[in-house]
């Protein structure tokens, strides 16, 4: 007999967005039965790896309008402006809420919260806790969540399938890692906060857990994935491991130089050069991530990159900041570069190169974090509201976790209160049994011809080769064909571990299935979008095409074929598309 757990709201993913949602639910109504499911313990969630900060208007020289225009321009106008406006209005409240919960934000001498400069932002508005902002945000939320007895955690449970009946999402199934048992969670509403899918690429800042499980689960249940082709490369990753060095390095005054010691960004529309140690907002090293990563690609082709044992790099030079400032503002960066690359930023420039960092796309939701399936909500990196459009500005995503994590919770409460939601137990249980049989069949299978790690490598190699910073029809067609082939060959895997307790062979098999689905949505979306915008750059369609593509891509799942692609107009309220100007000469 499969164990059945009755809940009001089940949340999948216990990182920043999931924890924020759980707390909002518990605070709104202590009687709500909340299940918080995660494939890891909450403090292992990848929110912990975010370094630089969280954006929110708080200082007198700043305004909501400025944060709005930075975000919309940064997004290359592919965001929904009503969502951006809502987000920016809520941001300062959410960051203050975190402060009230104990987050150790860095401070000004007068005791107010300090802010730092960040890429693409015209005003200093990034709240930070040294260079471990995501870590502190996650732990503050996790520790605060311990106050609420109604939040029942199901740590190390891997969610496999949504249960949808009568057109409404009414729960899900999840495997308890410790026992290997499948459990059925019935819920009046489900919130997916399961993070991104950076592991579909080989070179990424993302931890091993970022395999797109939540995205794939919603996708397979009929919810479209939106704007998946927009994959953010962070310009400054350590070349051997992909470990991130925060944008805060440049916010504090670090510079990027090529092998000639030349600050090459001035050649890519982000000049003129700014004085050393005096960074100027929204230009040069404080341009947006897409532009900086693209500039690297060009420098590499011009032969201006520094060659290293780990491939071509450019240099991030922070020496002029001095040891004191580096220790105070960027201690983690120093620790990471010194231990993982054996280079101390106090004494030498650090070789870096662009690295896959963030998925702008994700589960299609509206401004209320609701999906097209009633009862199903999503927030955080796994979702696409969209506020990030074609290129997310650094420090908007931590804030997004909070704003839309809470929004998803409030929307779920509203949804539960609005109708008579009586689950059909027989139907749901039958669905759960189908899942059970599918997983059993995977265990029982023998004579498999494919290996999980082999397929995974072919997938990541193809994504890197063809779906990177610059793309062409030819390359994308090759990637789509390869991914279609891999999805087929995935049927030929076999588990070598047939036991139940903490079976990571099974876990990796399920994760690979999710990654293949997400990767195909990325590649097909990229092939169909015949323009260049933000993080999606086509060598065969170099210009932005507002006539045809000022639209969100919606990818609909098909079990055997590539996704069906549809388009949805973006919401424009007050900012018409124009030129993204990151030159220092702009008005």
């Amino acid at each position: 007999m499969m164990e059945k757990i009755q809940t009001d709201v089940t949340i999948v993913g216990a990182g920043g967005a999931g924890l924020r949602a759980a707390i909002a639910l518990a605070e709104a109504d202590p009687k709500l039965r909340i299940a918080l499911i995660s494939k890891v313990y909450p403090m292992r969630s990848h929110t912990c790896a975010a370094e630089g900060g969280a954006a929110g208007v708080i200082k007198p020289d700043d305004s909501l309008d400025l944060h709005f225009s930075d975000t919309v321009g940064g997004a290359d106008w592919l965001c929904d402006q009503d969502a951006v406006e809502f987000f920016i209005g809520e941001a300062p409240k959410e960051l203050t809420q975190l402060e009230h919960w104990g987050c150790p934000w860095s401070r000004e001498p007068d005791g107010s919260v300090a802010v730092r400069p960040f890429g693409g932002m015209k005003i200093k508005r990034t709240w930070f806790a040294a260079d471990k902002t995501g870590f502190h945000l996650l732990h503050t939320l996790f520790q605060t969540s311990l106050k609420y007895p109604s939040i029942q955690r199901f740590d190390e449970h891997y969610a496999t399938d949504l249960l949808v009946d009568d057109g409404r999402c009414q729960g899900l199934t999840a495997i308890e890692m410790r026992s290997g048992q499948l459990r059925q969670f019935q819920a009046k509403a489900v919130i997916i906060t399961a993070g991104g899918a950076g592991r579909i690429f080989p070179f990424t800042t993302n931890g091993a857990i970022k395999t797109g499980d939540g995205m794939a689960m919603a996708y397979r249940a009929g919810v479209p994935l939106k704007d998946m082709e927009f994959v953010q490369y962070h310009p400054t990753g350590l070349p051997n491991t992909g470990i991130l060095l925060t944008e805060g390095c440049r916010g504090e005054g670090g510079i990027l130089v090529n092998k000639h010691g030349y600050r090459y960004l001035q050649d890519y529309g982000m000049g003129p050069e700014t004085p050393l140690g005096q960074p100027v907002l929204k230009t040069m090293e404080l341009g947006p991530r897409d532009r900086l990563s693209q500039a690297f690609w060009h420098e590499q082709r011009k032969g201006n990159a520094v060659s290293t044992p780990w491939g071509d790099c450019v240099l991030l030079d922070m020496r002029h900041l001095g040891e004191k400032k580096i220790n105070e503002r960027l201690p983690f960066v120093r620790e990471l570069a010194t231990s993982y690359l054996q280079k101390d930023p106090v004494h030498e420039p650090i070789p870096i190169r662009p690295v896959v960092h963030y998925m702008m796309g994700g589960i299609h939701t509206d401004i209320n974090a609701a999906t097209v399936v009633p009862g199903l909500f999503a927030a955080g990196e796994c979702a696409c509201v969209s506020i990030n459009g074609a290129n997310r500005l650094g420090s908007n995503s931590l804030t997004e976790l909070l704003v839309f994590g809470k929004r998803a919770a409030l929307s779920a409460i509203e949804y539960i209160g609005s109708g008579k939601v009586t689950p059909n137990d027989t139907v749901l249980t039958k669905q759960a049994e189908v899942v059970q049989s599918r997983i059993r069949a995977l265990f029982d299978k023998s004579g498999g011809t494919e290996s999980i790690s082999g397929l995974r490598k072919e997938m990541t190699d193809s994504m890197e080769e063809h779906v990177g910073i610059y793309r062409t029809a030819e390359g994308l067609e090759a990637a789509c064909a390869k991914l279609g082939e891999l999805r087929l060959r995935y049927q030929g895997i076999e588990l070598h571990d047939k036991t139940n307790v903490y079976n990571t062979d099974l876990l990796q098999a399920l994760e690979l299935g999710a990654m293949l689905d997400c990767a195909e949505a990325v590649a097909v979306g990229a092939l169909e979008r015949k323009e260049s915008r933000g993080a999606h750059q086509r060598l065969d369609f170099e210009a932005r095409d507002d006539q045809n593509y000022l639209k969100h891509t919606l990818a609909y799942y098909h079990p055997k074929e590539p996704p069906r692609i549809e388009y949805l107009d973006v919401v424009i309220t007050k900012s018409q598309p124009s030129v993204r100007d990151y030159s220092g000469a702009k008005k």
């Binding site: 890891v40 009230h100 903490y502």
Partner: protein
């Protein structure tokens, strides 16, 4: 890049098929710059898909991959092979029950962390509209170090007292309680003292200091525990020797 052949001796235990833990040795070709976790991933991907262990961030911040490496509690993602001989023994964290292979059962720690009330209990309530609590850089500095705990539990594996007396609340949980106790915004110390200033709390600590030696984030739990002891002693004197229980 130079490569070395490492003999990785890994503790294996599957409760469904093994009566007791055993060791299995894998020969792994390792570039110099690898960490022990990279070698485990090589095994998982190329030699033996049945090996189970926890990991995620590979940058020493998620706290998943703590293990005993040549007998020392260590994050495997920060255990550089350049610092080890050609033979490396990997075991699950000491003092925790083994769930499977290198995966331990951490319910005990999770329960203790929760009991220590590691969240802000505000000295004075403040509405969001009133803005942030003011806190000077000096006030922040007082507790900042203790916020850096990643819950990796290396300190529990290193602590001889936790090994002897499993009821001991232990270094990380007490440190996190102390972190809130000395936060200028907090007023919840009395509530936490009931948990940590007890025989199973700080008074169980014998000040060996092993916790601070193994801490990958330099949190220095031993210092936190000493501060709690001193503050608790002051409480006792105030209560017993001062007029009106020290509460003038």
């Amino acid at each position: 890049m130079n490569e070395r052949q490492i003999q990785l001796e890994v503790l294996r235990y599957n409760p469904e098929t093994d009566d007791e833990p055993r060791f299995q040795t894998y020969s792994v070709p390792c570039p110099d710059e690898w960490v022990v976790l990279d070698a485990l991933n090589y095994v998982k991907d190329n030699l033996d898909t049945t090996l189970s262990y926890r990991w995620s961030c590979h940058m020493a911040v998620c706290g998943s991959c703590g293990m005993m490496i040549n007998g020392e509690p260590t994050l495997s993602c920060k255990a550089f092979l350049r610092d080890y001989p050609d033979h490396i023994r990997v075991e699950p964290l000491a003092h925790f029950p083994i769930e499977r292979d290198l995966v331990t059962v951490i319910d005990d720690f999770m329960g203790k962390l929760s009991r220590a009330k590691p969240y802000l209990i505000p000295k004075e309530e403040k509405a969001i509209e009133e803005g942030e609590y003011r806190q000077s850089p000096a006030e922040l500095k007082r507790f900042k170090q203790y916020t850096l705990c990643i819950n990796c539990m290396l300190c529990y594996a290193a602590c001889p007292q936790y090994g002897l007396v499993p009821a001991f609340i232990g270094p990380a949980a007490i440190t996190l309680a102390h972190r809130y106790n000395i936060d200028s915004r907090d007023g919840g110390r009395d509530q936490r003292q009931q948990v940590i200033a007890t025989n199973e709390g700080v008074w169980e600590c014998s000040f060996v200091g092993a916790c601070s030696e193994v801490c990958p984030k330099h949190v220095d739990p031993a210092a936190a525990l000493q501060q709690v002891k001193i503050a608790s002693t002051v409480d006792w004197y105030k209560e017993h020797l001062m007029p009106w229980g020290g509460k003038s």
